[in-house]
Symmetry: C2
Subunit: 327 residues, 2 copies
């Protein structure tokens, strides 16, 4: 196959990306020109996925593209924001198959269509390792963004969906459920938007439940008590960990769940359940915030000491697993 | 030296970044929360610099950081926009010296301070090669963004500063002037803002003058005639190319100049000169847009055939030189 020049490659890579709300100038000029919705706050975040760190050769190109965008949308979900626009920077070995890159682009486009946002800018550069760095911009009602810092002692800890499946999905021969959680994460955007104004605080679970709970507690200046036997676990996860000495480890520390962890005052629990129903998302109360600093994990009233909190993303570039941290 | 954990590294990397205009929540939550200036358009662009492609081991860490931000600001300059915020994604080998990363952060902070913008978000991830992907957000009066597509036959082609120095700055033993142009590009933000409303079209010269002129012509649906002997060349460039068989090649195709190329109706030339004086920036008329498609380069009335237009950024990951293209 003829190797296309760079500009042809850019064209192929960006062709599936449509035009949407508030876009005066999209891809093709020095920068995009956008009209943010008036009277709302703008929400912005950036995240990267790197070959061999966040995805393996077993991922299809479409899965790589989907994941690159979805992990960013999860951050927007945790702010209660609605996604509007994305900018996608591709780094690729010059010898990469252009058809594979076009398929990655289609994976991004599929995730963008699913969540009603548009890719408005991009960049292609040469590098030794394939990676995608995505910036997502969204909107939220003025002053209504969900922050990590709003938790108060007495707030209930509520988590969406199930935990630990994405880590399970990394294992060879993983069941389709966990494999899909790992490769096609589904950001909890509808839930996030629904609970803005109900929850005191929110964070998305990307680094591992305990580590992200620690971030929320630190930002809110509180501690927490977590009841391990309440953790929402999928049938696939229960089957895979049956008889394990530490059945909660994957759920507590596995990372890449892209669920939301919310701090909700008990008086608003029913409102929260209503919002979760409208978002067709399961939510589970797993503990509460407390005055006393630190996170205590209990099981049937007995203290558990988890072996590790989560991932140090720089521990190794070659070990597959969650590999990036927000600054 | 103790290797700091990832979160300590993020903290060190982001510490120099201050808070500025319109920032409700900066670094430290799932995403930044921002207040765009009401009634203005938002301008957004992303670009990456990669070790061995856009910078060499001869760059100081501060120069790497400066350049990563400055190349993005040049895109904002070409839109006539004012920079507001940046998001910085760092990919780094896990064994990188944290002191070096902190110095890269200081280089970004120095460039941000110089141009009155704030870093509001970031990401750190493991990778085999050091790179920085920066997203910049800015503002421009509604409908006043300078586009590539506004050029009309008869418009004068005007270029800022001098051309070819950055390419010269890559050579071993380069003079301080060209070396500075390569390592600490100075985005033409004041000029860009000053000529919005005067110029019909603009593009920044990152890929090489001829290639970027080709982009402007294609977007505007016009051709151009360029007078090579009018190209603005620095004394250092003239000295380095004295006696060369093709003294214009570096200026026409060198890349990374980060000057602005403007299309200006003759009736507004004096207004443009006034704006350039107020921005303390030299501008030179180098040709004109024409109906006839294609770019013609003439020298003393005689046609020149340049040997190459500019860089194919994916030609090689190991060859140093301009290495990224906007999509």
């Amino acid at each position: 196959m003829k190797r296309p020049g760079e500009f042809e490659l850019i064209e192929r890579f960006t062709r599936p990306f449509g035009r949407g709300e508030g876009i005066r100038v999209g891809i093709g000029d020095d920068a995009a020109v956008l009209r943010p919705p008036p009277g709302q706050d703008l929400v912005a975040t950036v995240d990267a996925v790197v070959e061999g760190v966040h995805f393996t050769p077993r991922f299809t190109p479409e899965e790589i593209g989907w994941k690159a965008l979805a992990v960013n949308l999860s951050d927007l979900a945790a702010m209660g924001a609605r996604p509007l626009w994305a900018l996608v920077a591709l780094s690729t070995p010059p010898a990469a198959d252009p058809g594979r890159l076009a398929r990655i682009g289609r994976g991004i486009a599929a995730c963008a269509r699913r969540h009603a946002l548009s890719v408005v800018g991009g960049n292609v550069t040469a590098a030794r390792q394939l990676s995608l760095t995505v910036t997502v911009l969204g909107a939220v009602g003025k002053g209504r963004a969900l922050l990590r810092s709003g938790g108060r002692p007495g707030d209930l800890l509520v988590v969406s969906g199930t935990l630990g499946d994405a880590a399970l999905g990394l294992l060879p021969g993983a069941a389709p459920g966990p494999r899909g959680r790992q490769r096609r994460p589904r950001p909890r955007l509808a839930l996030g938007r629904g609970v803005a104004g109900i929850a005191h605080a929110a964070i998305d679970i990307s680094d591992g439940f305990l580590q992200d709970l620690g971030h929320l507690c630190a930002a809110s200046g509180v501690g927490a008590r977590l009841e391990a036997d309440r953790l929402p676990l999928s049938p696939a996860y229960r089957a895979a960990t049956r008889g394990s000495r530490d059945p909660f480890e994957g759920a507590l520390s596995g990372g890449e769940d892209y669920e939301l962890l919310l701090a909700v005052p008990p008086s608003r629990l029913e409102a929260l359940r209503g919002a979760a129903r409208r978002a067709s998302t399961r939510v589970t109360v797993v503990g509460a915030l407390e005055d006393r600093p630190g996170v205590r994990v209990v099981e049937g009233g007995r203290s558990l000491r988890p072996r590790r909190e989560g991932h140090d993303h720089l521990r190794s570039v070659r070990v597959l697993g969650p590999g990036s941290g927000r600054a």
